[in-house]
Amino acid sequence: MTAIVAAETAGLEGRSPKRRGVPGVALLRSTHGLQRGMLITGLVIITLFVLVAIFAPLLAPYGFNADRTADGEIFGTQQAPSAAHWFGTTVGGQDVLSRVLYGARTALMVILLAVALSLVVGVPLGLVSGYVGGRLDRVLVLVTDALYAFPSLLLAIVVAIMITGGRSTPAGGIAAAAISITVVFVPQYFRVVRNATVSVKHEPYVDAARITGAKPRRIMFKHVLPNVSQTIPVLATLNASEAILTLAGLGFLGFGIEPSAAAEWGYDLNKALSDATNGIWWTGMFPGLAIVLVVTGVTLVGESLNDVLNPLLRTRGGGTTTADEAEVAAGDATDEERS
């Protein structure tokens, strides 16, 4: 799935900004028609997801691991949806609805942690490596390229096993999952930021700073980073959706968070697998739909962001008229002789 990120951020590197002010509003304004619809749908889904994640204890009728009511009445296993259990109960006798709601919480925490960690590690690494260049850069590129080409899920599993040593603690579960996912993402951030840095570092305005006598650190953070950073929101959003999928994949294969430590959709889907063969649909359907919904929401926002920010993909719309005019009148706009 990293392929998508690679494909979609390809045109993003080192473009100049056109907007200032509140990012959300400006972003909405710069969309139009269908694109705006996609963006709004995505934002609504994400808002819903975050709200559910925060208020899961209030919304869920039972605890995520409870198999009986407060009065000690056992739910029973694999019960079909009913008034008491809207989404039915699992093979372990837990309430599916409660597990789905609590699952949002787990997913959100892992996403935030994973994306934040990858940013903190990947961005500076890419910036320095791209700017300084030389042997360090070549080695880092070789290593990250190798990791990048490797099946990401497999890499995440290996790291998950390494971190937990085969044993998962409740508190460490989420952190471990997030770190495993981070290891997958860092090469992506590294690549994007490094390549953007390499293409920006010979821009005349960076040369200008260099001629002035500015020190490398000032050039990197004052002149390069701000012009590289607009690729990051798109990457982070697309990565967030990938994080959910990787987390679910880990859980599905049994390398994720311990089921007693937190509710996790992928794990539930694994347990629902044999149910499906017997025609029991509710145990897998709801956690599965939850994943699809959240990933779709995040992807919609990521795609819209990309369409708006990527100059190669911009269509007619607010704020882009001059660009289009220039495109048509290419002959007029770039009337210059080459040196």
Binding site: T2, F150, L153, L154, L253, E327
Partner: protein, 347 residues
């Protein structure tokens, strides 16, 4: 300096350099995996930790040589790899190279079917979406692409199972063939482990149908996931090449729109498309782990996750190394294809 050793033809030179790059790539992956795995401890403790007394563990460790310095073990492991020796699984005592051949064949078969679906669905839809940009076909195709991407392969698998197997009863829910067929095909000689080939060699039409029926759902689940990526990839790259000067120039000399897209835009878009599709092979292998687990398809991914759960790190290391080699070789082949598509690389 280097110029004198290397051959004159730029293409051959480029490909040789590229070929040489496979070695560090594989080496890095093998090293990373080796040390990651060993951070937790030695494979014997990991696999048998709870079941044996510390004394028994020590004896076993010494037998297997896991008590020696880690660097020695690492170098010895590398040496084994060079001889094609991937080691023996701790849990079921299978030769890893034998696992690679039998289960690898199953994964190869699944990947083949899945790629068939991915190309069959992804390429035409991607082109359609680019052609009707921002119109209804584009929007619906893009939504479809997002949905198949957003749905984990095991959820799609579960839905397919629910519908076609549990509810309609049209297709088998798991496995590569019915038990009777599996047993019969075991006696085929030469046995390729690629079920469909074995079935054809056996010559029983019913068996061929059975094998095909078993392949449909896994191929769809894995293939649709990949198709989603292909659609987006093709759409974006086509849109980019569609706005190049040479496309306008081709239009300006009276080339029909269809031919402009086919002969100029698509051909040029192929370079980035092929590159990312190459990476997709690695993703396909990742997806295969999930798909194989979902459908109990006895491939490399399935067995790998079994070994992982059993903490059999000798087996895991062997399989992961093999995957690393496949990934590195694939990326070389991709560059080779690119060199053929793009004359700028060739000369």
């Amino acid at each position: 300096m280097a110029a004198r050793i290397l051959p004159r033809s730029p293409l051959v030179r480029y490909l040789l350099v590229r070929l040489a790059l496979i070695i560090p790539t594989v080496l890095i992956l093998v090293t990373v995996v080796f040390f990651f795995m060993r951070v937790i401890g030695d494979p014997i403790t990991a696999a048998q930790g709870g079941r044996l007394t510390p004394e028994q563990l020590d004896v076993r460790r010494a037998e297997a040589g896991f008590d020696r310095p880690i660097l020695t073990q690492y170098l010895e492991y590398l040496g084994g790899l060079f001889r094609g020796d991937f080691g023996t699984a701790l849990t079921d005592r299978r030769e890893i190279s034998e696992v690679l051949v039998t289960n690898g064949a199953a994964t190869l078969e699944l990947s083949f079917w899945a790629l068939l679906v991915a190309f069959g669905v992804g390429v035409p839809l991607g082109r359609l979406a680019a052609r009707y940009r921002d119109k209804l076909p584009d929007v619906s195709i893009r939504l479809f692409a997002i949905l198949v991407y957003a749905a984990p392969v095991f959820f799609i698998g579960l839905l397919l199972k629910l519908l076609f197997s549990a509810t309609l009863g049209w297709l088998p829910a798991s496995g590569r063939a019915a038990p009777a067929v599996s047993i019969a095909l075991n006696n085929v000689s030469p046995k390729t482990n690629i079920m469909i080939v074995d079935a054809i060699l056996y010559g029983e039409p019913e068996y061929i149908v059975d094998v095909l029926q078993h392949a449909v759902l896994p191929a769809l689940a894995l293939g649709l996931l990949t198709a989603g990526v292909f659609i987006r990839l093709i759409r974006i790259n086509l849109l980019e090449t569609m706005r190049t000067d040479y496309v306008t120039a081709a239009r300006a000399r009276g080339v029909a729109e269809g031919a402009v897209v086919r002969k100029h835009a698509f051909r040029n878009a192929l370079v980035p498309i092929v590159t990312v599709m190459g990476m997709q092979i690695a993703m396909l292998l990742g997806g295969a782990i999930l798909t194989e687990t979902t459908f109990e398809w006895q491939g490399l991914g399935y067995i790998l996750s079994q070994y992982l759960l059993a903490r059999d790190f000798v087996a895991v290391q062997g399989i992961v190394t093999a995957i690393a080699v496949v990934v590195a070789v694939t990326s070389f082949l991709i560059d080779l294809i690119n060199a053929l598509v793009d004359p700028r690389v060739r000369y």
